[in-house]
Amino acid sequence: MTNMRNILLIAAVLVALVAVPPFLGLGWQNALVNILIASLFALAFNLLSGQAGLLSFGHAAYFGMGAFATLHLMLAIEDGLSFPTPLLPLAGAAMGLLIGVVAGFFATMRSGVYFALVTLAIAELFHSLTPHLQGFFGGESGISSMRMPWQGFVFGTVLEVYYLTLFWVVLSVMALWAYTRTPFGRLTLALRDNEQRVRFLGYNAHTSKVIIFAVSAMFSGVAGGLQAISNETANYALFSSHISAQVVLQTFVGGATIFFGPVVGAVSFTLFAYLVSDLTRSWLFYQGLIFVLVMLFAPTGIGGVVQHHLRNVRRDDWLLLAGPYALAATGGVLIAGAVIYLTETVAVLFGEEYAVQIRNAEGSLPAYEMFGAWWEPFGIATWLVPVVLLAAGGAILVKSRGNILKCWEKMGREVGEGAHEPAAPGVAK
């Protein structure tokens, strides 16, 4: 039953991904390409971090190398090599696999913090070395190429790039999903849970980990290759710790313990960047805030919360929960409103434009415009708004939290222990 439902859900998402984009604007099409690439990268990363329990802080290295390899193949095609453009990500996959085997061999000799540090060091190595290697990496300005037409496809529009990306991402996600169902996929989980026992069972733990690392790096390389196709350029910034960190954030916000969790994280972060980054300069602050909140109150990530609910979907208490949930959402919106209000107020009051206005007003603090209204810096209304929002939101949240807890406890009593069993890591329902 759950299987049937999941298949229908996935089919519906796929149909939407194929049918909707032609009707969207260029901006959205491009945002979707980014979302797909980020999703694949996060899934590849999570194979290593969520499923094998090896937290890598340097996945940008394999992503970046995949991008460079793909670009070099694109350059070769530009020079007359006959190679079908749609198969370009294979270069990224091959390069990711190759680098993954070598880097993985050394990194997986250690585990835990030391593993993380080795991966970080490898990525830094790439980041500091590549600007000096003019030949392959094109110095700090990087290399660029152009997508060449193939069999009537010009690959000039964003839409064509989107479908190419969609094809590769769906294929890779299916492969990654199939991987989790193989005996080796099970061994991956076992390595995370008890490496000692795996060794005693007669498996070579190091070799297994190198293979897992290489597979993860290979799919990261595919993601990098897709980005290279989309941007038609690559430079050493692809190896920056920022990219490694971003994929960690996305994976943990989405939920590292669930197969599709990283996708949730990648989609939310990429969408957030697309929608908010040009609206306010404080968008990175909000992004960080979201990360902290998720880690504090939903350590299994957004995906974990969703999965927890899906598991209990057949219990009939949804009407009971709907009320408190709606209330909690209202409280959340009020508090979010207050935080946004305060952040933007601070941004305005300490911003350059306002500094000019103060100077022009000779020291006194003039009124400023925000959210389409005028506010006095010392006005009562100015500071009453956030206080009221915070107080009301806080009160509502505290109250609804108690109600929600009661609801779940009631459901828990009715169905026994099952309701609070932790989500089985790495295995989707």
Binding site: G142, S144, M146, P149, G156, D278, R281
Partner: protein, 409 residues
């Protein structure tokens, strides 16, 4: 060629959806507007807005106000590529960027490809700060205009001015960051040696913004016993180098390119006195009304990269006066052709575009840090005092052989 014909055909269909009506001229600023490099990104954005406000005050363009849209590239070229696509989606006609050569390299390539694929819907790239030689060399293209100096222009002007002031000496030390800009400066220092009558006693290329302690480098400088040190370093690499030199009690004159970055003078303190900078402009050179006018609008005297950005928008504004689309569709190629012919008068001299590579021929101002300056920097009593204004025709260098520009039509 067949490929591009097909490309053009598809693109035309794709763009057919656009309604035929008068659209305002849209300028997109793709800068680092969040994160570590925000401060210079904001300076570019403020300066562009100032220039566009002036255009709009004079009636705008094509019957509408010129619009400015800011895009945050988050400091990286991937972010810039992404925001460029967003700018295309928003119908931007002109892209302005300056804070990084790597990002400019990305944008100029993106612009080139976009223009190949979308004939009739061209986009113009005005580069207001990226100085990599390859932008007007290997990567030179018709739709890229550079409204700032490059390494040879700065170094030639600086060495000649320092020589005249008697501060250059005959032994010059070259220390630079190990990437294209630093390498360009080093090459320029070597190239100017004969004319400047000096010997390059040693040259060093070091890691970019990674060095915390410059003492070993200062020891090397001391051992070479130079009269002056010329460096293209910026940010911490300049500050820490100068401080380490000051701490070691070494008596050399620095010739720099980025000493006027906000915060540098306050941070360096007394150590900065007597050192030189070659830049596009200085408030003490030329007519003061420009600086006063800018201060009235923005609250501070023009600093760092602002003047060159204002001049670029000024030149654009002058070019726009020469084209008229009578409220119809904007043809960016016509604007680009008009921009090629503009000679823009700045307070320090005229700026004109060289048609062969779209580098601007422009004056370079060499100034020195002095006590009790007319325009104090960073709330200190110190500031810059112009020593010499090198006119454009003397500062310019020959077109690079690698530039192969395809003109439209």
């Amino acid at each position: 060629m067949k490929k591009f014909a097909a490309l053009a055909a598809v693109s035309t269909i794709a763009l057919g959806a656009h309604a035929v009506q008068a659209e305002p001229l849209k300028i997109g600023i793709i800068e680092s507007l969040s994160g570590a490099q925000t401060s210079s990104g904001r300076l570019y954005a403020t300066a562009v807005q100032y220039g566009v406000d002036k255009i709009n005050a004079a009636g705008g363009f094509n019957g509408e106000d010129v619009q400015v849209i800011e895009y945050d590239n988050a400091g990286g070229s991937t972010g810039a590529a992404d925001k460029f696509k967003q700018a295309v989606a928003d119908g931007v006609n002109i892209v302005i960027q300056g804070a990084s050569s790597a990002i400019a390299g990305q944008i100029t390539e993106d612009v080139r490809k976009h223009n190949l694929r979308n004939p009739g819907k061209e986009i113009l790239f005005i580069n207001v700060g990226a100085e990599a030689m390859e932008l007007t060399g290997d990567k030179c293209q018709f739709y890229h205009f550079r409204f700032t100096t490059t390494a040879p222009m700065r170094v030639n002007a600086m060495t000649s001015a320092m020589k005249e002031a008697g501060d250059l000496g005959t032994r010059v030390y070259s220390i630079n960051q190990n990437y294209s800009w630093g390498q360009d400066v080093q090459a320029a220092i070597n190239a100017a040696a004969e004319k400047g009558g000096y010997e390059v006693v040693d040259e060093v290329l070091h890691d970019v913004n990674k060095i915390q302690d410059f003492a070993p480098f200062v020891a090397r400088i001391k051992a070479a016993n130079p009269d002056s040190v010329i460096t293209g370093n910026w940010s911490n690499d300049l500050l820490l180098l100068m401080k380490a030199t000051g701490d070691a009690g070494l008596d050399v004159t620095f010739g720099t390119a980025y000493l006027d970055q906000p915060g540098n003078i306050a941070n360096a303190g007394e150590t900065a006195l007597g050192h030189y900078i070659a830049n596009n402009y200085d408030n003490t050179a030329g007519d003061a009304s420009f600086a006063e006018e800018y201060k009235a609008a923005s609250g501070h005297y023009p600093l760092f990269v602002e003047p060159q950005t204002i001049f670029a928008v000024g030149a654009l504004s002058q070019a726009l006066e020469g084209v008229d689309f009578a409220g119809g569709d904007i043809d960016v190629s016509k604007i680009a052709l008009a921009l090629e012919d503009v000679t823009y008068e700045t307070p320090v001299g005229p700026i004109a575009v060289r048609k062969e590579d779209h580098q601007t021929i422009r004056p370079v101002v060499v100034s020195r840090v002095v006590e009790n300056a007319r325009y104090p920097a960073d709330d200190t009593s110190m500031g810059f005092e112009a020593v010499k204004v090198v006119p454009g025709e003397q500062a310019i260098y020959p077109v690079q052989d690698s530039c192969d520009m395809k003109r439209p039509g």
